[in-house]
């Protein structure tokens, strides 16, 4: 039973770390603000979520697990809201998402 807990939490932690790294690489390499928000979303929801789930498995049925679940639930609901507000602000300021076939230099707001 103890071995199972270790293996499961190890896998969850490893998965969460890998997802966080993928999200970070995505934040750097994607060409457009709106595409980078996708990568930021990966880090916030799944990356942090799997790491916290890994910790939850380790701590079993205690108050610690409840706190971890609260952190996860809070992050899960608020970071998409923050990203939505950011996308709204970016759109309102005139930045438009880069549609396929646009000029490919990085992040020049296309003039409509």
């Amino acid at each position: 039973m103890d071995l199972l807990v270790d293996i499961l939490s190890g896998m969850l932690l490893a998965g969460g770390s890998i997802l966080a790294l993928i999200g970070a690489v995505g934040i750097i390499r994607l060409p457009d603000v709106f595409a980078r928000m996708h990568a930021g979303g990966i880090i916030d929801t799944m990356g942090a979520g799997m790491i916290l789930a890994g910790l939850m498995v380790q701590s079993g049925f205690t108050l610690v697990t409840v706190k971890l679940f609260l952190i996860f639930a809070f992050l899960f609901y608020t970071t998409p809201t923050a990203t939505h507000a950011l996308a709204q602000a970016a759109l309102k300021s005139g930045l438009t998402p880069k549609i396929q076939g646009d000029s490919d230099e990085e992040d020049v707001p296309s003039k409509i």
């Binding site: 190890g10 966080a20 706190k67 438009t96």
Partner: protein, 96 residues
């Protein structure tokens, strides 16, 4: 050991997010990377609490998660309201 590896991965992710904050042409890139950085700080605090075997850190992580969210919304609203900071009007990047 697994927790140490997770801490290392989270620290590397934070460094990569900071690279976008420095390079980001528009102010919104910076906000995206700071938002990711804040969430990763929450995870780092939680993992550190587990590493040192002190469950009180989770309260700090929860408080930090609340603050990060409010901070991002405040900065976004500030950038939206301030006329000089919005890119897309001309060729300026509207940098902070």
């Amino acid at each position: 050991m697994m927790l140490a590896a997770t801490t290392a991965a989270v620290l590397v992710t934070m460094a990569l997010a900071l690279v976008r904050a420095l390079m980001g042409p528009t102010v919104y890139d910076r906000i995206v990377s700071v938002n990711a950085f804040g969430t990763l700080t929450v995870v780092l605090i939680a993992v550190h609490g587990f590493l040192t075997g002190r469950p009180e850190f989770l309260d700090i992580a929860l408080a930090y998660a609340l603050i990060t969210f409010i901070g991002v919304i405040a900065v976004t609203k500030y950038v939206t309201m301030t006329p000089g900071m919005r890119p897309g009007r001309g060729d300026d990047k509207g940098d902070l």
